[in-house]
Symmetry: C2
Subunit: 426 residues, 2 copies
Amino acid sequence: MVPYLTTALTGPLLELEKRLLDAQPMIEHWFRQQWKGQSAPFYTSVDIRNAGFKLAPVDTNLFPGGFNNLNPAFMSLSIHAAMGAVEKICPYAQRLLLIPESHTRNTFYLQNVAVLAHILRQTGLIVRIGTLIPEITQPTTLELPAGGRLTLEPLVRHGDRIGLEGFDPCAVLLNNDLSAGVPDILKGIEQNIMPPLHAGWATRRKSHHFAAYQHVADEFAQLIGIDPWLIDPYFSHCGKIDFQARQGEDCLAEKVGDMLAKIRVKYDEYGIDQPPFVIVKADAGTYGMGIMTVKSPDDVRELNRKQRNKMAVGKEGLEFSEVLIQEGVYTFESINGAVAEPVVYMLDNFVVGGFYRVHTGRGSDENLNSPGMHFVPLAFDDTCVMPDRSANPDASPNRFYAYGVIARLAMLAASIELDETLNEAA
Amino acid sequence: MVPYLTTALTGPLLELEKRLLDAQPMIEHWFRQQWKGQSAPFYTSVDIRNAGFKLAPVDTNLFPGGFNNLNPAFMSLSIHAAMGAVEKICPYAQRLLLIPESHTRNTFYLQNVAVLAHILRQTGLIVRIGTLIPEITQPTTLELPAGGRLTLEPLVRHGDRIGLEGFDPCAVLLNNDLSAGVPDILKGIEQNIMPPLHAGWATRRKSHHFAAYQHVADEFAQLIGIDPWLIDPYFSHCGKIDFQARQGEDCLAEKVGDMLAKIRVKYDEYGIDQPPFVIVKADAGTYGMGIMTVKSPDDVRELNRKQRNKMAVGKEGLEFSEVLIQEGVYTFESINGAVAEPVVYMLDNFVVGGFYRVHTGRGSDENLNSPGMHFVPLAFDDTCVMPDRSANPDASPNRFYAYGVIARLAMLAASIELDETLNEAA
């Protein structure tokens, strides 16, 4: 079952999908060249929006949850890719410490941790799970709804090494995005940490990511001869916003206005009669807290108290003052009338699958990864690596291939972004 | 559908499978270390025999046909693995020349070439097929029984570069085992040839391979604490055999006798009451020509004229004088009463699938890869990378995992063997 595109404005996208399909040898060759000089993140997931006329990443997650939502039929792809990643990053490592988010009641998330641990164990690693939750002071086994269990153990630090009681790992895999900052217990440890600590939201900024993506998208668009706007959402950012104190509103309103005008020019160029919109969200952070759909500069001036409070509080109480303003990309995919947004998963530099977030109560111009948002995951029923030139450009293997290409561009941008922030930190 | 083991003597094998399963982290870690210093062949297939009490490779093919027999459901695994291989070996290559065997009527083989070309194209390579058949002087398109077509083109050489009319490839992939020697047109070319020319049967010897395998198997057996004989068939070889002139028979009869005695000791040790047997085959060459099952030294002295003729002629008329004497390994797997022999496929250092050769007219002590042998391929219904510790050691994911391990040992031996023959040639 594959979502349908519910817009008549599919001309440019069909054109784009056709271009991607025709240019496949060039594209794969180009990617191979990129990965000669660049290391892929250990894992990445990319939220993609498909507007029919535009196909673009809107969020790139370096600590992906949701591995439980992938199609179990393609599990072996994940194992293969993880084998490659493990071989590159820790050839001599056998014991891996996995540190997940500090959730104990979110069974969807725990299921993700279980699948991730399973994939890693299938590569032959001995995997144990350490937790940052201070209340967990001894090994604690949680039952999973789908069967199986997960044992969380308290972290133990000896000198510059992190581990568990009786378990000295050679490397650490974070599945925790460090929204609350880097915990002291992880600072200055000698083991290899993947992704690196500076990939956490304490240092990472979406605006850095999309700046890197812009370069990647420009080069790629030139390679295959398309308008980069078709794959790249406009963005800008404002620092020092305090929604509750109503500071920085002018910067925000002005940039929103500018961006809406720029989008309108493009919509006119392509004959799109939908109203342009922008998304305002925290420049640091994930989990969709404080995300706003804005169609006019006035929208950001006329927030009521409730909206201000919602915008002011990020995950784990992180008070953000930096804001990303991102071109809104309609998602015109739907299934049985419900809006569907594709999420593509990668391990190392390989696409290993994905799923659709399907949500009945949301509009095509709203973010589908928001707090309290109970989407239904619909696993991709096809891999993203097998385009079929004999089928039409929008046939599902080809649409999935297009998603895989866009997701890999975002992943490439993330790896460049991480190198840049490492150099800045050094 | 998975073949059954039809022997009561499964004790040692269950023990072996259990050992492999328990040692999985150690095994995968060990393989990762091996691949730090060693490059895997581009592709490899390994014939395995499962005697219930013993699980061992009997043939390692560096120019595998039969990709058409793999489970299409796992095609994406092959594409992933090929992407990795292409990335390593020819990062800047985009045009690949595939040179298959010189068959035009063997549609099974042509189907293999088509699947192989498809896998390579999905990695983004531009693949064209060149032929060594002298009669093909212009592009010739063959219709395939499963639909689709294959275009063979004559090779064109300019100076030290090989290619096709209007096609200058960066690398050459051989799917031709060079039994008839290295053709002049391929000698001294500057492009990268995979596998290297010295992997062809003009230079390669099975006895070299099994000597390298013996070292690998010994080290591996020590690692997981088993008797290496459980995974390693005895072998020896005789040079200068002329079956028609009845020269060298004494060497052969003596070595056959010695080996049967050695096997008998092991059979006694493990309480196996089957008669020992050995396989006599060409030390160079494939395709199962001139393969003999021998249960007594007298068997090799009492050959009639027909048998002598059969043993004297290898593939493409190659007259061999070197012979491999290999411990016969019973294949006690069968499906609906027919004997089944697993063949495992690898691309780069990844297992990508396999199939059973199922043959109704053969005994458990006969070679299933012989001339005129029309086996039925039964694709593995599971990948070889997902052992299931919660199931019993002989559950199919675990048996497939064991096959994958043994096959990778043989592949590792092949890569060591290729390094050694390269150094000898240099």
